[in-house]
């Protein structure tokens, strides 16, 4: 018996140690995340207590009531009283747990009186953040270096990264001390935007808008993930939030609004790159090599996860660009499938995700890379004309 007790205590200790060393739910930095953590620990200990009681009785019985010890079977069964007790006691425990859980749930769902509203849109496989109050809008994608390292057989030792797969080009910048409301939606399949430190997790569903909120109490960088399976690169669309003081936040907003940062501006500090200048460039005649250079960058950032870096695609799932009739055919069809996408397939409309130059470059790149030697260019002005 004492052996069992010791094993049990040792097991509980191990679990507690594991729980205290970064293997537990984070307490987080919002009132809701703290309450959630409290609920989690409460139900955890309730379960431990129930488990301990149940297993203690069971193991006691297994040691004492064994045939090898000469135990003779008793013949009792059916006792209404005992059965009422073991139905009623759990019921009481459940009610005791349900009350605080319901309170937290009600608070979680109360998105009223928010001071800042951010629209979060999931794309395969990146996030778009739109600051509805100031008009700032940008995409946030897995950091380019991580993206290289995570390819199959890249040969890169990923342990050299401090935050492997948890680093993005443009983090979401948010103020502390304000109630922030998030609106969630998706442009393609269902995603789920999760920041554990905020206890915010909500599905991004195409055609629908979900909401929830956070009140961040401490400055810092908070990292999360997409948690709803969303296709091939589901594991590679991190969330990074930079929580700054209200003053810094206001300064950041003033500096950047109204900005439109597209996905290919990777490496740029949040909000630094503004495509307004590029827009002026749309009307001039671009050279092949300029377009190809930008195009390669855009392609690897925005298209390669499906069509592959070598343009060969994945048979049956994502068509090859190398030798593609569309990518080597007339301009209109090629422009159209990228600009407007193909409804009902994984091929999204890139009109809102990329600038005119970026679309023109990536199209030119597709026409002239991977052995597609069409030899012509598509100019940004042609894309501008569509808008």
């Amino acid at each position: 018996m004492s052996l069992i007790l010791r094993v049990f205590v040792a097991a509980m200790l191990l679990v507690s140690i594991a729980a205290c060393t970064g293997n537990n739910m984070p307490v987080g930095v919002t009132p809701i995340s703290k309450e959630t953590y409290g609920l989690h620990m409460m139900i955890f200990w309730v379960c431990c207590a129930i488990g301990a009681a149940v297993f203690a009785v069971m193991f006691y019985s297994m040691f004492m009531h064994r045939k090898s010890k000469g135990a003779k079977p008793a013949d009792f069964h059916e006792s209404t009283l005992v059965e009422i007790i073991w139905t009623a006691v759990p019921l009481v425990i459940l009610i005791a747990v349900a009350i605080p859980a319901a309170k937290t749930l009600i608070a979680m769902e109360d998105t009223s009186d928010a001071e800042v509203t951010i629209k979060v849109t999931g794309y395969q496989w990146k996030w778009q953040y739109e600051y509805l109050d100031s008009g700032i809008s940008f995409f946030s994608t897995l950091d380019a270096e991580h993206n290289v390292a995570r390819q199959v057989g890249s040969g890169v030792d990923v342990s050299k990264f401090d935050n492997y797969l948890k680093e993005v080009d443009n983090p979401l910048v948010l103020p502390v001390g304000k109630k922030i409301r998030f609106l969630h939606t998706s442009a393609d399949v269902i995603h789920s935007w999760w920041v554990p430190d905020f206890a915010v997790k909500k599905d991004a569903i195409p055609g629908f808008i979900n909401e929830n909120w956070a009140f961040i109490e401490e400055e810092g960088t908070y990292r999360g993930k997409c948690t709803e399976l969303c296709g091939r690169d589901h594991g590679f669309m991190p969330v990074v939030v930079e929580a700054v003081s209200a003053e810094k936040y206001d300064a950041w907003v003033a500096e950047n609004s109204p900005a439109k940062i597209t996905i290919a501006d990777s490496g740029a500090a949040a909000g630094a790159a503004v495509t307004a200048t590029a827009d002026a460039d749309d009307d001039r005649e671009w050279q092949m090599d300029e377009l190809m250079a930008t195009g390669e960058k855009v392609y690897n950032q925005a298209c390669a996860s499906c069509h592959q870096v070598d343009g060969k695609g994945l048979a049956g799932a994502f068509p090859a660009i190398a030798g593609s009739a569309i990518a080597t055919g007339d301009h209109d069809a090629h422009i159209n499938i990228v600009y407007a996408g193909k409804p009902g397939s994984a091929m999204a409309a890139f009109a809102a995700q990329l600038s005119n130059t970026e679309i023109a470059s990536v199209l030119t790149y597709q026409r002239n890379a991977f052995g597609n030697n069409v030899g012509d260019t598509i100019q940004p002005s042609a894309i501008k004309a569509l808008r």
Partner: protein, 529 residues
């Protein structure tokens, strides 16, 4: 055999043994043969599904992508689940039902023997169809076993095969269930009342009703996927006026009862084994029956607890939270009953009992993490992380799978007439149990610390526990070879089993010779009338 023998197979009536040659298996209408077919089928699929799990764990051994493309990884997680659920656990339970229900109720065979043959033979075709998609252009389904729209609709054309495979499995399950219901209501020994049936029969009766109720719902859901994908409908496409979340509601209206389909027969098995080895009757037979009924009822009103993050109204979230918590009451009643049965018994610990106790301990752990998951605000943090993966593997592997292994060891001497090798049975139990916990326990930690499920690559902070889990996975996987070896050895020969096999065993199946003759209870047992 009266139904089957009504035609020109008059000779079936006598004490004839099985037909000779391989056609015996193809044309058999004998419940024992069909039970055997189901069980072997399930064992083969167990290794196929297990192989997929090992591919998943091998890729997750280290951070970084070493072995497989993420898309293939996704199709492995998808297929692993489909194979384990529909190809392993369900057929194994149907196989056990085939073997044991007629013998437990003193009936000569299943009520609908030809339907029975067909129910089984659909399965190999269904799974050939399903598995063949892995070799088609674009690969197998990669949108998760739940086939959530719109992601599943992005898949390659092989998706149509997946849907047809699911339809076939569903037809097989529904026919099997109808057969079980018909058998239980019509073939019981004269005088045996429902409340005299062994619990395995009771739990299967309720499971069969669950299956009949929800498999058509799944069929409807996947048919809508089919028409959305190939015929231009928009059931789940918001742009066409549909709703992707509706798919999830329909799916989980099937999916949650399905969870209980995978565990109720296990409850029945454990309720047979524990009294035998405690040499003491089950503590509360009636309350076990009522608890099973309540669980089955509740299983229909908790489905949306799989969907706490989809953006339901507050009232909905509250309802599903409370209803889900309620399930732990009848489940607790079951666990307490088993322990009360052990209490002051005279226990011995042969392999079936070890697996039953393993079930009891680890299913309880899985049940308790289930209670944690019921707490909606906490679930919002747990949802779609490895914590959930840990939870459902605790209820399915040491739950459903252990119950099937316990049942195999328990009834194997009755099936083959030989005792299995007790020493190796025990080794199988201990090795499996150690590795299983090495495999699944760390998943609780990485899940709480923030590792999402269904990802092929992860951040450094999860590296240590994932390496541990992978070691556990390979250990657990390979230790199942011991099981195969013990079973094969027992089929071939061994110490002869007595009719009763186990000292404390009660029930009609122990009154027939070991091995059970090809036809049993052609004359019904008399003790109930």
């Amino acid at each position: 055999m009266s139904t089957a023998a009504a035609g020109h197979h008059e000779h079936d009536h006598d004490d004839h043994g099985p037909a000779k040659g391989w056609t015996r298996w193809l044309f058999t209408t004998n419940h024992k043969d069909i039970g055997t077919l189901y069980l072997w089928f399930s064992l083969v699929m167990f290794f196929i599904g297990g192989g997929m799990a090992l591919i998943i764990r091998a890729e997750l051994f280290q951070p970084g992508l070493q072995l497989v493309d993420p898309l293939f990884f996704n199709s492995m997680t998808t297929m692993h689940a489909l194979v384990m659920i529909f190809g392993v656990v369900m057929p194994a339970f149907v196989g056990l039902a085939n073997w044991m229900i007629p013998m437990m109720i003193g009936g000569p065979d299943m009520a609908l023997p030809r339907l029975n043959n067909w129910s089984f033979w659909i399965m190999p075709f269904a799974f050939t169809l399903l598995l063949s998609t892995l070799f088609m252009e674009g690969g197998g389904p990669a949108g998760g076993w739940t086939l959530y729209a719109p992601l599943s609709l992005q898949g390659p054309d092989s998706f149509a095969f997946v849907i047809f495979a699911i339809h076939f499995m569903g037809i097989s399950s529904v026919m099997g269930s109808i057969n079980i219901v018909a058998t239980i209501f019509n073939m019981r020994a004269p005088g045996m009342t429902l409340m005299q049936m062994p619990l395995f029969v009771w739990t299967w009766l309720i499971t069969a009703y669950l299956l009949i109720a929800v498999i058509p719902v799944l069929a409807g859901a996947v048919t809508m996927l089919l028409t959305d994908r190939f015929f231009g409908t928009s059931f789940f496409n918001a742009a066409g006026g549909g709703d992707p979340v509706m798919y999830q509601h329909i799916f989980w209206f099937f999916g949650h009862p399905e969870v209980y389909i995978l565990i109720l027969p296990a409850f029945g098995i454990i309720s047979s084994i524990i009294p035998t080895f405690a040499r003491k009757p089950l503590f509360g037979y009636a309350s076990m029956v009522y608890a099973t009924g309540s669980i089955a009822f509740l299983s229909f009103i908790v489905w949306a607890h799989h969907m706490f993050t989809v953006g339901m109204p507050l009232a909905g979230e509250m309802f599903f939270m409370f209803a889900t918590m309620m399930i732990s009451v009848p489940t607790g009643v079951k666990v307490f009953n088993w322990i009360a049965t052990m209490w002051r018994g005279s226990m011995t610990f042969e392999t079936p009992m070890l697996f039953a106790i393993g079930f009891l301990v680890m299913f309880t752990i899985g049940g308790l993490s289930g209670l944690m998951l019921a707490i909606t605000p906490a679930d919002i943090q747990y949802h779609d992380t490895y914590f959930v993966v840990a939870h459902f593997h605790y209820v399915l592997v040491p739950g459903a799978i252990y119950s099937i292994m316990a049942a195999t060891y328990y009834w194997l001497p009755k099936w083959t007439g030989n005792m299995y090798d007790e020493k190796w049975g025990k080794i199988h139990f201990w090795v499996s149990t150690v590795f299983l916990n090495v495999l699944f326990f760390p998943m609780h930690f990485v899940g709480l610390a923030g590792m999402p499920r269904r990802i092929p690559d992860y951040s450094m902070q999860f590296a240590d526990w994932n390496a541990v889990a992978t070691i556990g996975a390979f250990g657990f996987g390979f230790s199942q070879l011991i099981f195969v070896w013990v079973v094969l050895k027992c089929v071939k020969g061994g110490e002869k089993a007595t009719d009763e096999v186990w000292e404390g065993a009660e029930g009609l199946e122990w009154t027939v010779p070991s091995p059970a003759p090809y036809h049993t209870f052609e004359k019904p047992p008399a003790q109930f009338s």
